[in-house]
Amino acid sequence: MTALLEVKNLSKSFGDLKAVADLSFQVNAGEIWGFIGPNGAGKTTTMRICSTLDLPDHGDVLLEGESIIEHPSHAHSRIGFMPDAIGVYADTTIEEYLDFFARAAKLRGPERSARIRSVMEFTELTNLRDRMMGSLSKGMSQRLCLAKTLLHNPDLLILDEPASGLDPRARVEFRELIRALADQGKGVLISSHILSELSETCDGVVVLERGRLVREGLVSSLSTDLSEHQLLFIRSLKGEEALQMALAESPGVVKTRPEADGFMVEFDGSDEDISRLLTFLVSKDLQLVEFHWHQVDLEEMFLSFTDGALQ
């Protein structure tokens, strides 16, 4: 099966600055892919190339196997790009704005009004239809921008930091909107430098740093990637040294790493081995207060992948 979006060896420089270097990844239909990287990592640059607004120095971007670099006009009807900031037209209402882009997308007559109504309902803008664009709050603007992006019913959505500037509640709503779109079978590439925003929504992530691909894959496979061993978090009241000594004696412990008030332990072994480790530690009278699996979240993955260079 050809991927919906395939980015192949993409490179782009601005003068001496390599904004994107040899980047490759894929997004399939019905999947949400997070595009993560610190500010200046090259996310916007990549997304602009993917939506034909910019040209790469090298590499190609394929939409279902066809190059959008060579056939940019084919891509316009199939890709919806939501930039990080919406451009405001003076003296234009929300409905007129949507009407304009619907006309541009060659929607005619009743079909156009139906489409405008449906995207306004989807993004809950119906009550604001006669508001002037200039008077919208950030959250409303973002919703309007999404509505515009959805007008021509694109198969692939490219969203550049759509949730930035939204309050937590709006953020949750936004996530739900995105999920609903993916469930309709659209492919979604969504960028952010805030990870918690993506961790629950995304099927896969592409982590970018200084224009280079750091890691790429499905969220599930990435977390096992991070360490071949299970991670345990252990905290005791007896102080670090005692715990560390006890851990050093225990079989199955591969590596320990001190955390804020406990130890992160990489452990190799079965469930019985873990149970035995717990019995052993208890027998040492270490006054354990915490002993649990550690679930790796996206934030942590990101930190470990990027060598702390994201500051």
Partner: protein, 516 residues
């Protein structure tokens, strides 16, 4: 009703948007009121002064009324409308809405068209506010209706030209400083146009003692009008090119306009010859046409070649279609072929008997016609290499933006450079004063001599020499850019190296900055 809705659907989306915005916007209301007020004041002033005048001066009043109205219309058409067009296009860039337009499904042609049409609508509206005043002028002062119609038509045509220039400028320069510079330039052009045009029309239309053949007037008007429209087509194509994706055939319309211009120019020369039967018209007309067409072709001549091959491969159906469309595919090579074709078309009037090729080889070398022919052919010999040589360099795929621009500038710059060079040579080699000027090395002199029907067999040789000199001058030009060319080549080679080569760890890369 249904028809109307259907028609509304087919309207250019940008036009619909612009009109909606305009109706609400302040600029529009303000300028509309200004316009009405100005027309009203002019009309009132004239009406009140009319009482004091004697019957004999009615015609004079007509002239004054015409002048007043033309100033009002010119102010609106040549200042307000182009300014609004420029503002509207530039604001798309400033307000971050331009990208959304480019991927909205609108073709670049539609975007330019929409903006241009909106300017046209504004102009029509201004004209319609003037209509009542013109009717008053007709009934009270005997203002000729045909004259007023011409006034209106020409104002609209000039206003559309300026609006197109304004839109083109807004598309070409992102930089704010450049924008304001361009706007100032535009304002100057506007003022110049107003002065020239209202003065010119006055003389032509209100001086009964200068006898003007009405047929001549019509021919002149039609010539100006069609020429203006050809220029519209060309400028429109150029404006579209500036916002077209770099991988698409952006200069197609410019090519069509160039070809049409050559056909129109040829027809015009033949028409003039029929009207006036003067072989000089053929010579001068042909040389002017060569110069004009060379200028018009610069963008297509110097376009990068890499795109053409792919575009050609995309045309899969029909051998003939592929063959026929070849000239209109992107790239300097096809541009050069099209240019040569136009030059051939433009040379057709030289075949007119009396200006015939036979005259050149016959014994009547001192006849007017053969000298004219010499001049035309020598002009051709100069123009073609001056145009083709830089385009050869510019159309290479490896040529960067800067070099391409330099090459574009080289073509029109070559002739003045040549004139300068000959002057310098004259000084250096101490050619004595007369020879300095009356030398076959002086292009101005050679042109003058040929046109002045001086018997001179060496003209062609002189021009051939000049062409060689032009090539040399261009070599000097390019030598300055050789290092840049080399660097470009190096960049290309290093870019072609396997991309999977390990990227060096983040050495002193500039601190990444956030754009948002």
């Amino acid at each position: 009703m249904k028809m109307l809705a259907k028609f509304g659907d087919r309207l250019n989306p940008i036009l619909v948007k612009e009109v909606r915005q305009a109706v609400r916007g302040k600029f529009f209301r303000f300028s509309f009121l200004c316009m009405l007020g100005m027309a009203f004041i002019v009309a009132t002033l004239l009406l009140t002064t009319q009482n004091a005048r004697s019957e004999d001066l009615v015609n004079d009043s007509g002239t004054i009324f015409y002048l007043g109205m033309s100033i009002v219309l010119a102010a609106a058409g040549m200042v307000l409308v182009p300014l609004q067009a420029n503002r509207s296009m530039a604001s798309e860039r400033d307000d971050n809405t331009f990208d959304a337009l480019l991927i909205s499904g609108l073709r670049p042609a539609q975007i330019i068209q929409g903006k241009w049409l909106a300017a046209g609508m504004l102009m029509l509206l201004f004209v319609s506010t003037l209509a009542p005043f013109l009717v008053v002028g007709h009934t009270l002062f005997g203002l000729d209706l045909l004259v007023s119609l011409m006034l209106v038509v020409f104002t609209i045509a000039f206003s559309m030209t300026l609006s197109l220039v304004a839109i083109f400028l807004a598309c070409s320069f992102k930089n704010r400083a450049l924008q304001s510079l361009a706007l100032a330039f535009l304002a100057l052009v506007c003022v110049g146009m107003v002065a020239w045009w209202s003065g010119g029309m006055m003389v032509v239309l209100f001086q009964p003692f200068v006898s003007i053949n009405s047929g001549d007037l019509l021919v002149t008007a039609a010539t100006v009008f069609i020429g203006l429209n050809l220029l519209h087509l060309w400028g429109y194509g150029l404006a579209i090119e500036t916002i077209t994706h770099r991988e698409e055939n952006g200069l197609l319309r410019v090519r069509v306009a160039c070809l049409l211009a050559s056909i129109y120019g040829t027809g015009l020369v033949i028409l003039f010859w029929h009207l006036w039967r003067d072989p000089d018209v053929v010579t001068i007309g042909t040389v002017v046409n060569y110069a004009l067409c060379t200028g018009l072709n610069i963008p297509t001549l110097t376009e990068s070649d890499h795109l053409g091959v792919r575009c050609r491969n995309q045309i899969t159906q029909g051998k003939w279609r592929r063959f026929g469309s070849w000239l209109f595919l992107p790239g300097g090579t096809t541009g050069s072929a099209l240019y040569l074709m136009q030059m051939a078309i433009l040379s057709l009037p030289l075949l007119i008997p009396g200006n015939s090729w036979l005259g050149m080889f016959g014994h009547s070398t001192n006849s007017i016609s053969s000298n004219g022919l010499y001049a035309a052919i020598s002009a051709l010999v100069v123009f073609v290499p001056i145009a083709l040589f830089p385009s050869m360099i510019a159309s290479r795929a490896s040529t960067g933006f800067v070099l391409r621009s330099v090459m574009r500038a080289t073509i029109p710059a070559t002739i003045p450079i040549l004139a300068l060079l000959t002057g310098v040579f004259g000084l250096i080699f101490g050619l004595h004063s007369m020879a300095n000027f009356e030398s076959g090395l002086n292009p101005i002199y050679v042109i003058g001599r040929n046109y002045n029907r001086v018997r001179e067999a060496g003209g062609l040789i002189g021009w051939g020499f000049l062409a060689a000199l032009a090539l040399f001058a261009q070599f000097v030009f390019i030598a300055g850019y050789r290092s840049r060319l080399k660097k470009l080549r190096r960049q290309q080679l290093s870019g072609a190296a396997p991309v999977s080569a390990p990227v060096p760890p983040a050495v002193p890369t500039p601190e990444p900055t956030d754009l948002d």
